[in-house]
Amino acid sequence: MSLELNAITKSFGALIANDGINLAVNDGEIHAILGENGAGKSTLMNIVYGLLQPDSGEIKVDGKVVTINEPSDALAVGIGMVHQHFMLIPVFTVLENIVLGHENTSKVGKLKLHEARERLMKIANEFGFEIDPDAYVENLPVGVQQRVEILKALVYEAKVLILDEPTAVLTPQETDELIEVMKRLRAQGTSIIFISHKLREVKAVADRITVIRRGKVVATAQPSASQEELAALMVGRPVNLMPDKNPPKVGAPILVVKDLEILDPSGRALVSDVDFEVCAGEVLAIAGVQGNGQSELAEAMVNLQSHVRGSITVGGVEIVGKSVHESLHEGIAFVPESRELNGLIGSFSIAENLILDTHREAPYTKGFALSPKAVAIRGEEQAKEFDIRYQSIQDPVSSLSGGNKQKVVVARELSRPVKLVVASQPTRGLDVGSIEFVHERILAERDAGRAVLLFSTELDEVVALADRIAVMYAGKILAIVDATVSREELGLLMAGVKK
């Protein structure tokens, strides 16, 4: 089935998310849509899937204009979608998730699952998926949940399958498997729209690539194009994909973690048997698939976790048992995983957010009163130093873009005397320009002789920045390897396989 989008335009207030987008997906083709976060890819796909209505433009399926007002309309013309955040109900079984919205019932209204079960198993066999229809989705690994999402579309005879950032949640091995699945689907005649900002994957699987920037189609490229060319198209200027890294000048150990264990409130171990050191002048990256204890470990560095056993010392001073305030003032800069939730107070001004940690010190506080003037002056200074783009320093920090928000967090954290920088997913959701800034800043801190502990689920980031890599799996550090390790080996470690 072919799909054609003609001059699709959609705006949200003053923001034009899609500006006259044309796109043609041929029968049995894997068509990648490449673009940065916020370029308008998801908006476009939500329009195709009927979750949003375009302001103007038309959608053609096999040459005929179709109206898609609801997801059910999209399903009816053969368009299926696998969302970035899975549209599966965790407490339902696989089968229940498959039948939802397409239920067959007996005369008294009782659900009939038998036919759906047969159909599901038939299609699963056809595509070589192993699936237990009675397993509860919440108990399945993420990769398998994604299979269920794909099956959901196939059971209802989707001929065009939209995959929205499908690899964001997968291990490298699962990503490879997904790529195989996509090729198999293509072989059986399914067209696939593959949305991604990961150049490597796009190159590996796509037949054609459409690049979107700021709501507009800027180019159609072939997968033979180099990563640098694609990145430049995506960002609109030449991009340095690998930050320049000086050879490390490793000093004495700054951070020493020994026998660390972190428990949840019911006493279950989230992190256990963790031992490592980070020296001055080196970056230790903690890699791993999300949800293997990295978030908890990162928070434990500044005592944001309640049930911690073992020892964490920074420059010889024990951190465990101290307050967050005390730990930060032992010389730790902490860039939390979610800047919106934990890094900033959205309704506070930019200037106020920049002194959240030092507000009780002079000159910001005199006696018991805060001095707004001193706060504003400091804010402007720091904004200049860290290139934060703002209208007024008194604007709420929530009005800033993602990249500028992260700069506020980084500016605040690096303005104290720092021995150790803990950065958790520091570039998540940022545009390429901001990613470059954050990467350069992290390497600058390393070169200035600070110890850097980086938590990242992005393999590219880990490889680009780290001197050594520790892989976390199921709450434990599976191995600490040199940054020159092969991607395959890292991928296996992330999946819990240790040679």
């Binding site: 949003l52 997801p71 059910s72 407490v91 998730n97 939802l100 239920e103 019911s266």
Partner: protein, 417 residues
């Protein structure tokens, strides 16, 4: 031996019960020995007689039941250790705990056991109606704090209409509509305008209490002969079943409203887990985006379910007036809507769980009433606390961590996530 969290909780509960049993054995069996006899009555009306009444020496009874209870508790521990459900053990231990207490508390007195249980069911009826209403809402993702208001509106409307028309049937028909009217407000503001559902429900309660208080004072008191002298349903004994000893009078000699309650509970239990409507309702309460993505109109179904819930709790309100005393009195629901909410949570948002919890709360409530009526030497203030203490013990020991429907209380609109 490593225990899971559930098992640890079960063991903790058994340990508490065991401790209480030992205390009872000592206190009631030995320390406070009394030569009085305790009489348990089992005959209520015209049911077939197996046992009329049972007389036992107070201390002997306490000793026997405490002993049985201790054995049952130990059995429970063994069941947990062999990875089985300790329910048989804990159930017997709990029952023995109660009986041992009753043998002591009612020494020299008469306890109408069948009457006690029948009264428990009667007190549980509004709780069960209320919790079914809450279930319908919360399983679809809308928090319903306004159950109290819906019950009260149902009680008021049915009382007044039955009084004006002299027909109980009209009262019964109008009550659900009154509840649905409150639901209409709840649904409109919560779903259409995304108002905070807890605050909204609270405000609706205040609204109904204020309105009914006002009308009661200005209309129902001065003109009570026309406005507030409604008839009430007579008990309807079901042939044969109603004659069964003990269970007959408790379950099968009730008013039509109670029989309607059985039907509603059965219908909801079946529909929620076995029908298309149920699957979709649970889906929109857990993950509305997912439901929307397969073509389910989330807000429409939520709206319908909230209205349905109003019909159920409104009907429950009728139980206060045409279902029992006939006339309306000020704030006569007395917090039943809130206890119903507790029953829903205690019952882990399942129909049977909520019913069990409702019955337990009803029993605790009625027990305290019965004991103060027969004149037990425990301060009545303490007896009034019993239901709530029972609630706290039960919730902490039995239920543990419960999980509400994931999207409970979160308004849904496209693109907001």
């Amino acid at each position: 031996m490593v225990f899971s969290n559930t098992q640890k909780r079960q063991l903790r509960l058994i340990a508490v019960v065991l401790l209480l049993l030992v205390v009872e054995l000592w206190e009631f069996g030995f320390a406070k020995a009394s030569s009085n006899k305790t009489t348990f009555g089992f005959l209520l009306g015209k049911e077939w007689v197996i046992i009329h009444e049972w007389v036992i020496q107070s201390t002997t009874g306490s000793k026997i039941f405490s002993g049985i209870g201790i054995l049952a508790a130990v059995l429970g521990i063994f069941l947990v250790r062999s990875n089985k459900s300790p329910l048989p053990g804990t159930a017997i231990a709990g029952f023995s705990l109660l009986m041992s207490f009753l043998c002591w508390a009612a020494n020299g007195k008469f306890i109408p056991m069948t009457g006690l249980l029948q009264g428990s069911l009667m007190l549980a009826v509004p709780l069960i109606f209320g919790s079914m209403s809450g279930l319908l809402c919360e399983r679809s993702g809308v928090i319903n704090i306004a159950i109290e208001g819906q019950l009260l509106a149902g009680a008021f409307a049915s009382g007044v209409i039955a009084s004006l028309t002299h027909k109980t049937t009209w009262g019964l028909l109008v009550a659900p509509l009154a509840g649905a009217l409150i639901s209409l407000l709840l649904a409109t503001f919560a779903i259409k305008f995304s108002v905070d559902q807890v605050i909204l429900g609270f405000v609706l309660n205040v609204l109904v209490i204020g309105l009914t208080d006002f009308l009661y004072k200005k209309l129902l008191i001065p003109y009570s002969s026309t406005w507030n002298t409604g008839p009430s349903f007579a008990r309807l004994e079901i042939p044969i079943l109603g004659k069964l000893p003990i269970v007959g009078p408790i379950f099968f000699n009730q008013t039509i409203i109670v029989y309607l309650m059985y039907a509603i509970v059965a219908l909801i239990s079946f529909s929620l887990f076995k029908t298309k409507w149920g699957l979709r309702t649970r889906a929109i309460g857990e993950h509305p985006e997912a439901a929307d993505s397969v073509g389910i109109d989330v807000n429409k179904l939520r709206f319908r379910n909230v209205i349905l819930a109003g019909l159920v709790s409104g009907l429950g309100g009728a139980y206060f007036t045409v279902g029992s005393v006939g006339s309306f009195s000020k704030e006569m629901t007395a917090g039943a809507g809130f206890i119903a909410l507790a029953a829903l949570i205690f019952g882990k948002w399942t129909p049977m769980g909520a019913v069990t919890a409702g019955l337990l709360f009803g029993f605790a409530d009625n027990l305290s009433g019965t004991l103060s009526i027969i004149g037990v030497s425990i301060p009545s203030e303490f007896m009034l606390m019993v239901p709530y203490i029972a609630t706290i013990i039960a919730v902490s020991g039995l239920v543990g961590r419960v999980r509400a429907p994931a999207a409970d209380g979160v308004p849904y609109s496209r693109g907001s996530h």
